[in-house]
Amino acid sequence: MSIVHVILAIPALAALLLALLPSYRLAARVNVAASVLTLFASLVPFIRRPDTTPFLLIDDFNIYLVALTAFVACTTSLFSARYIVHEVEIGRLVPRYLRYYHAMYQAFVLTMLLALTANNLGTLWVAIEGATLTTVLMVGLYRTHAALEAAWKYFILCGVGIALALFGTILMYLAAEPVMGEGLLAMTWSELLPHAAQFNPALLNLAFVFLLVGYGTKVGLAPLHAWLPDAHAEGPTPISAVLSGLLLNVALYSVLRFKMLLAANPLAVAPGPLMVTMGLSSLLLASFMLYRRRDIKRFFAYSSIEHMGIITFAFGMGGPLANFAGLLHMTMHSLTKSAIFYAVGHVSQIKGTQRIADIRGLTSSQPVLGWALVLGVVAIAGLPPFGVFMSEFLVLTTSFARAPLLAALVLAGLLVGFGALVLRLQGLAFGEGTGGEKASSVALLPAFLHLILVLTAGIYLPGPLVSWFQTVAKLLG
């Protein structure tokens, strides 16, 4: 019974308990409590790192991701409690819809943590699939035509993705089996890595293609991204926050796990080019799409695609600095984007709309909320002194030294997206405010908590984190 089991057990039990709780108010509290517990549990490995088992492992790569996931899950649960109550008050949601909302939330957290801590390729796959199943229902929570359409699309696209990922996993086993012999060992990540050098490189490549397309669908890489904007826009905002803040990260994490195996194999075709291509296409597509968005949540969903593109590009470029930047960017993006979604959630509740055109002059009418949004967008736009700037600085400098043309493309994409972000931000936050605001209790503590973390990271990175990043960056080749 290691701490990892505890970390996984808390959300599991919470999910079961919540499934039985009828009152959504009580459930919300339990949800928060469970999340807090998970958070504490997830901090324990920092002190004493549990040893690896065939199914579970904690290493430099996932130790902080587990903590991050637990943290974002915790803050989101806080936000969610407030948000859901208000949604019910204004009648957008009826308690009946919320019957399994919190249970699903905990189940989702469980799958995320399982995917992170999984040491077995099969377990990883099951976890990701579970994540899909749990989120589908939450995306469709509002039961509006649009919500159902979004959920259904999300389900189908990710379902196919999952299927392809499974095929990739099988191929990976096939590649490992001759070296590792039959049985579990050949699917245990911690065992695969040391022997990856002897695997059949051609099979590795084939497997990686399927895994990239499969899990890449969940990462939201263009052209596999179609589910992402609508799922973010039509689902309840807490779910948008966790989708952007956790799911995308975890999906990317699983892709990276496999990239490590390829990196360890000298003969395998470097997965770099594939990832660079998909990253660039996502970045460019998203940055242009931003200009035509009218729905505020869909707008920021596209910004998530953009950033996933940047991160994927960074890992595709490879090299210690670019990988470091990618890892940093993953962390920063999940914190910042979830913070933004907290703010956006309150905004859309107060304004009673998600149409960007109907939201103006927030810094005048809702100073705290407005400035929170400004800070969030400034951070996500890659402006210092926030952490995103550091990663983008590293990506651009290192890639320009090696592939000027690609770096120029990235900069172009960044600038185009930047223009859209600033344009919309100025419309949302500045100018004369629009009236017709509904009173709402705003809980921005989570948002500011995230932003403070991002700000600190931009100025000062703690030593251990850096050393983890660096070891992982080395493994990622």
Binding site: L157, L224, P385, L415
Partner: protein
């Protein structure tokens, strides 16, 4: 120095904190800023006088494996002096002006933050710290511009500003990327140790020019500058126009003179061309402008051009081992940096005073303020003469030195330069003359003549806390104009740092005499000139009043016998600029004049309108914007597909990747 710097930055930070607290502490914010500015400025001055070695420090911040490196050498110290001295006076001005702001809370926190950013840029000694400070500066100023966010044009200006700033930062990031190399050694020390050459150096040069230039506002990257600078509150405009552009130039000097190796001669060619075009176009834009603050902003573009010309000569001379002349050119450039910071701040503060008194920026609705606001008018007049590069003020000295450098340009061996130098000289001369035209227009229309609107007629002089800083700037302008050597002496360590072995700049000079190129060459003594004029004038006054007549009678203006008291008959800024518009505007700006004269009997008023087209905007920015929106529209269809089509996309992607793998095997 480091201690003083940290104290100063601490004070700024404190001001930032109090600024967050809200408008009740307005005075505290500006006082703290002024105090901080003074602290750093004095320390920097002492460093320059002592001419000691560079001070370095490393903080455990920024990139973890690198840390934040700080370094204060003569160059940093000089710019610290410029920035913080001006900032001190401007902050004092803010004490009263700030209380006139519509929403002080949108200014107070970001004003000190802006200053912190600029100070950090000047002391940063590694690429990351440099860029973080650089962008912090941009963000803070962007928010300051948005202080007047309720006007729509402000928002568009702010957007354009921030996007252009980020473009510049992107260019700088790439430049540093090359300088740092694949190993990613971002420290400036490492870059100095291993100077790059050849193609890489060329790319760095281009990127640095683009990056720093976009912030300094060199043509054609200038379009954001006038709207942004004029939209901000006036004391912020003073900071942006007078100081931030200088910080940008610091970046340029730091990269081109310090971080890269010895320059090839063609750098000089490029920089000279850019500078000359910037100077001339800037002033032409300005002449056509009738919005006071926009006009001043365009003059910033012009003066940046003049500085860049100086830098260009410094590069060209340095490339040809003519270090003495390079030193001369560099002195001219840096001196102009200082001078422009002084008189441009002064002018913007004056514009602010006018705005406070009349709430007008449109020159066509001003006039006759010299009678209602005599002290503002007087300081503004000094600023105008100074910026017009006329003796006995400081603007003239730096341009005179630049001309001296131009005259020696013939000693450059390369033919291209030989041809370029006289043309650059001609353009600079033209720019200087046009600046004079422009400021006759400004002073004549805004302060002289008769008020063109009730607000102008009812204007009242602003308070002492606003006049005093302007007077301070005016004093400095005069002092440097009369005794330039006191400043040039301070510059010597900077020259020694950037051009080692160039010997003491302007060796032959003494406190009284400015002798750039050796005894019998050419000389200028501001003090004697001003003294002589003053003495002669007083003698004349005394003599005439004593011996001839001192009688005086007030009676209506003669005006060729048709005196017309209506102010509509006054000459306006538009009509004043008409000759120049006729001469240059039609070719450069495709200026069109449309006159509608109602037929006899029609009652409605006649109308006259002028349309100008900014070539840079038409040729560069509009196409870009069109392209982006076109692509956005085209790509937007992806958002509106059926699930089956999305699946098809996925399928296509998969098959494509599989094919790649199949082929690669």
């Amino acid at each position: 120095m480091l201690s003083a710097l940290s104290v100063g930055l601490g004070l700024y930070a404190l001001a930032f904190g109090t600024g967050l607290a809200g408008r009740r502490l307005l005075a505290a914010v500006y006082l703290l800023s002024a105090l901080a500015g003074a602290t750093i400025a004095i320390a920097a001055l002492r460093v320059l006088i002592a001419a000691g070695p560079a001070e370095v420090a490393t903080l455990p911040l920024g990139l973890p494996w690198l840390g934040a490196h700080l370094r204060i050498d003569a160059l940093s110290a000089f710019f610290l002096l410029v920035v913080n001295f001006a900032a001190t006076l401007i902050s004092v001005y803010g004490l009263e002006y700030g209380s006139h702001d519509a929403e002080p809370r949108r200014v107070l926190p970001f004003y000190p933050l802006f200053l912190i950013g600029m100070n950090l840029v000047l002391v940063a000694d590694d690429a990351f710290a440099f860029l973080v400070s650089w962008e912090t500066m941009s963000v803070a100023s962007w928010l300051l511009v948005l202080a007047t966010h309720r006007q729509d044009e402000t928002r568009s200006a702010a957007l354009l500003y921030l996007v252009m700033a980020s473009l510049g930062t992107g260019a700088l990031i790439f430049a540093f990327g090359i300088l740092a190399g694949e190993s990613g050694s971002y420290g400036f020390a490492a870059m100095r140790a291993a100077p790059i050459t050849g193609g890489k150096a060329a790319v760095v040069f281009a990127l640095a020019l683009m990056g720093a230039g976009s912030k300094a506002g060199i043509v054609p990257l200038h379009v954001w500058l006038p709207p942004a600078h004029s939209a901000a509150p006036s004391h912020v405009s003073a900071l942006m126009s007078g100081i931030m552009t200088k910080v940008a130039l610091y970046g340029l000097v730091r990269i081109l003179f310090d971080l890269t190796g010895p320059p090839p001669w063609w750098w000089g060619v490029v920089v000279l061309a850019v500078g000359a075009i910037t100077a001339l176009l800037g002033v032409l834009y300005a002449v056509m402008q009738h919005d006071l603050k926009r006009l001043l902003a365009y003059h910033t573009v012009e003066n940046i051009g003049i500085v860049v010309i100086g830098l260009g000569f410094a590069l060209a001379f340095r490339a040809n081992r003519l270090d003495g002349l390079a030193a001369l050119a560099l002195v001219a450039a840096l001196l102009h940096v200082f001078n422009h910071a002084m008189f441009k701040s002064l002018l913007f503060l004056g514009a602010g005073a006018v705005q406070v008194a009349t709430s007008e920026r449109d020159m066509e609705r001003l006039g006759g303020l010299i009678r209602t606001m005599p002290r503002t008018a007087f300081t503004f007049l000094i600023g105008s003469v100074a910026i017009s590069a006329l003796p006995p003020f400081n603007g003239f000295v730096s341009e005179w030195l630049t001309f001296q450098a131009i005259i020696r340009g013939s000693e450059l061996p390369q033919w291209l330069l030989k041809f370029e130098v006289p043309i650059v000289g001609a353009m600079l001369a033209l720019a200087a003359a046009l600046a004079a035209v422009c400021f006759v227009k400004v002073v004549g229309v805004v302060f002289l003549g008769r008020p063109r609107s009730p607000q102008a007629a009812e204007a009242r002089e602003v308070g002492n806390t606003m006049v005093a800083p302007m007077a301070g700037f005016a004093l400095v302008c005069t002092l440097v104009g009369v005794l330039p050597m006191i400043l040039i002496d301070i510059l010597r360590p900077v020259i020694a740092l950037l051009l080692p072995g160039s010997g003491p700049a302007l060796a032959g000079s003494s406190l009284l005499w400015l002798v750039p190129l050796g005894a019998d060459r050419s000389s200028y003594s501001g003090l004697i000139v001003i003294a002589a004029v003053a003495i002669l004038a007083t003698v004349l006054v005394a003599a005439i009043h004593r011996f001839a007549s001192n009688r005086l009678r007030r009676s209506p203006a003669w005006d060729c016998g048709f005196p017309d008291t209506r102010t509509e008959t006054e000459y306006t800024a538009g009509s004043f600029a008409q000759p120049i518009r006729r001469v240059f505007g039609t070719t450069v700006f495709a200026a069109r004049e449309r006159v509608h004269m109602p037929a006899p009997g029609e009652t409605h008023a006649a109308s006259f309108e002028v349309t100008l087209k900014d070539p840079a905007w038409e040729g560069l920015y509009r196409p870009t914007a069109t392209a982006v929106s076109f692509l956005a529209d085209r790509l937007n269809v992806v958002q509106f597909q059926t699930i089956r089509r999305y699946l098809t996309l996925m399928f296509a992607a998969l098959v494509a990747l599989l094919l790649i793998v199949a082929v690669s095997q």
